[in-house]
């Protein structure tokens, strides 16, 4: 009753009421013994002593740290104790939940087949799992040491120093077993790094086997093909032969030539794969290549009526001349192949702030949007019948993609079915060698 009334009075009201009541009772008691002020003082002292006792008890309860039950007191002290207990329990609950999640996280990362190393912003090892320990030959006592003091592969040291963590690096491991490791750094938090290590030996081996197989198979196919082509050549020029045979013979020769083209393309693809990851930086006279490409297109039996091949810049590309020629040739050749005689073909080479660009636009049959992402796969055909009719090997765009990758360039494909396509190669600025422009010579 009283406590409810007190609560209704609010903060200051409650305190004033209690003090007033104490003073009043003290004064009344003191009045009976004839000393009202002594009574007031005694009552206040009793209240004060009681409050101190409660405070002490609360402190002792907290020190005992018994979180099961609060002391059952009435009034404000009791409420205080209950509130504290509630807070304490909530905190403990959160803590145990957090710990459980943390433990599960640790256990799961420890069990990962891939190695994980946590690094401080100064590249010091903070934590690692078992797989990382095995793959990188770390020891449990290595926490706090710099990672590049223990993982000393020169490629990794420069990878860590340069800070370009977009793609993983491949390292030949001298570790417990010889093989290949893929290392990737991932920045997180405040400058911290996560090092992920994967054993890619089996993938690397499979990849090498596949490459070897393609190279060997195409190489082995070439010799019998040369013999067949040679005989066909002789036979088609032999007038004494039955004229009925001449039709099939011409067709056989044409197919043999096509097969030869496929084998040559396969060989150049495997050469590209065997070459260094990055193309050399020789000066490539793009304007010269483009002039040659224009002649090639015009020399075709059937070519689009409008052929515009323009080098707007005399800037040289830093790369591999043969590779660039074969890539650009493939793009222009494709455009010429798929554009009807009434259509047009535009090729353009230009340089701007983003780097150098080579674009080939045609008004050919175009490519349905769903096929565009897969165009550069080997032997991928939008329409099987169509590409065979034009005599393609199905490898042209795969070659283009590989050449561009080696030059740090990207291929952009825009196309709408029935209207035409545009293939654009974007070369980064560091692959371009600028020359001073001479007016009047920037167009061929």
């Amino acid at each position: 009753m009283i406590s409810r009334a007190v609560r209704n009075l609010g903060w200051t009201g409650g305190i004033l009421f209690r003090v007033g009541l104490t003073v009043l009772i003290g004064a009344l008691l003191g009045f009976f013994i004839g000393r009202p002020w002594t009574g007031v003082a005694a009552a206040l002292a009793v209240v004060l002593a009681w409050q101190w006792r409660r405070r002490l008890q609360l402190l002792q309860w907290l020190m005992r740290n018994s979180s099961d039950s609060a002391p059952e007191w009435r009034g404000q002290w009791g409420e205080l104790a209950t509130a504290m207990l509630r807070q304490l329990k909530r905190k403990q609950f959160h803590k145990s939940q957090l710990l459980r999640v943390l433990r599960q996280l640790r256990q799961s990362t420890t069990a990962l087949p891939d190695g994980v190393v946590l690094l401080s912003p100064k590249a010091e090892i903070q934590w690692f799992n078992d797989a990382a320990m095995r793959l990188l030959r770390l020891a449990t006592s290595d926490q706090g040491l710099r990672i590049d003091n223990l993982v000393r592969y020169p490629e990794f040291v420069s990878y860590l120093r340069d800070g370009h963590f977009e793609s993983p690096i491949l390292i030949r491991s001298i570790g417990p077993v010889e093989g290949w490791l893929s290392l990737q750094l991932v920045p997180f938090g405040e400058g911290q790094l996560l090092l992920m290590v994967r054993d890619v030996t089996s993938q690397a081996r499979l990849d090498a086997m596949r490459k070897d197989f393609i190279a060997n198979a195409s190489h082995e196919l070439r010799s019998p093909l040369t013999v067949i082509s040679g005989y066909l050549e002789t036979l088609t020029s032999d007038d004494t032969l039955d004229p009925l045979l001449s039709g099939p013979l011409v067709e056989m020769r044409r197919q043999a030539q096509r097969m030869n083209g496929i084998v040559e393309d396969l060989l150049s693809l495997s050469r590209l794969e065997a070459a260094d990851r990055e193309a050399p930086r020789e000066e490539v006279d793009v304007a010269g290549i483009i002039g040659q490409l224009k002649k090639d297109v015009l020399a075709r039996a059937v070519h689009p009526q409008e052929v515009m091949v323009v080098a707007e810049s005399q800037a040289k590309l830093l790369g591999d001349t043969l590779q660039i020629h074969s890539a650009f040739h493939n793009l222009v050749d494709n455009a010429a192949k798929y554009t009807p005689a009434t259509g047009s073909l535009h090729a353009r080479w230009w340089v701007d702030a983003d780097g150098a660009h080579f674009a080939v636009r045609d008004t050919g049959i175009g490519i349905p949007a769903e096929h565009i992402p897969r165009l550069t796969e080997r032997f991928y055909r939008v329409d099987a019948g169509r590409s065979r009719a034009t005599g393609g090997s199905g490898l042209g765009l795969a070659i283009v993609k590989h050449v561009l990758q080696r030059h740090g360039a990207t291929l952009e494909i825009r196309s709408s079915e029935g209207k035409g396509s545009e293939f654009i190669c974007h070369f980064p600025p560091d692959r371009v060698q600028q020359v001073t422009l001479q007016p009047g010579t920037n167009a061929l």
Binding site: R137, S141, D148, N149, L150, R152, Y153, P154, V157
Partner: protein, 240 residues
């Protein structure tokens, strides 16, 4: 300015200097390890181009030795280190000399490998040499690890393993002599193989030297030209 603060500051800068030198030495070690791996690969796979490039890349190792040497001299001149710090600098200068020598041996392996690439390869694909090569690679790697971790106990164990390398060297040498006596036409080729094996054995010795410098750094005892068992009695009471 508070003098205590100043000394704290200089010692922190000094520590950073030492730490940087150490990281550089280990980076040089990594480069040497890679040179060794590439030299052996060139031999086993008969890749003369790779062998040539190993010989050329030795320049990088030499350049690193010069830079680190200069850095150490600068620290000696400007910081005048004493006690443990002085030992670290002195040992570092010695370690890079050994690393540079390992680099030179790798260069020899590279040259011999590119010469052997044109010769007929043995049917066992240099099985013994590969085995010795692996042991030496591990030796160099573990010696550098001991340096990175400043672990004298580990360094002692690694130094002991140099014996195995020496034994294997002996046995390959005997084998080569037999080859040469059997077939005089093989002498030229076998001599080149001996050249590689000899280089590997020397690399093992240099790795052992590095281990001895690590023990010197940690315990302040020069353990060169002492038997490894007496070394153990020196470091055991302290390394537990």
């Amino acid at each position: 300015m508070d003098p205590a603060d100043l000394s704290h500051h200089t010692s922190r800068r000094f520590n950073e200097d030492l730490e940087r030198v150490r990281t550089r030495v280990l980076a040089m070690g990594g480069l040497v390890e890679e040179q060794l791996l590439r030299g052996l690969t060139a031999l086993v796979e008969g890749d003369s181009q790779l062998g040539q490039s190993v010989a050329i890349e030795d320049r990088k190792v030499n350049a690193l030795e010069l830079t680190i040497d200069e850095e150490c001299s600068r620290i000696l001149a400007t910081r005048a280190p004493t006690a443990g710090d002085l030992r670290v600098i002195v040992a570092t200068i010695k370690i890079i000399t050994d690393l540079e020598r390992i680099g030179d041996e790798c260069e020899k392996i590279g040259i011999a490998a590119s010469r052997l690439a044109v010769a007929e390869r043995p049917s066992d694909h240099y099985r013994e040499v590969r085995h010795l090569g692996k042991a030496v690679q591990d030796l160099v790697h573990d010696a550098l690890d001991a340096f990175a971790r400043m672990d004298a106990g580990h360094a002692l164990n690694v130094a002991r393993r140099d014996r195995i390398v020496d034994d294997e060297y002996e046995s390959i040498q005997r084998q080569c002599i037999t080859f040469m006596m059997e077939d005089v036409r093989q002498i030229r080729r076998t001599l080149d193989v001996m050249w590689v094996v000899r280089a590997l054995e020397r690399i093992g010795d240099h790795a052992k030297n590095i281990c001895e410098y690590v023990i010197y750094m940690v315990h302040g005892k020069d353990v060169r030209h002492t038997s490894l068992d007496s070394v153990e009695s020196v470091i055991l009471p302290r390394s537990g």
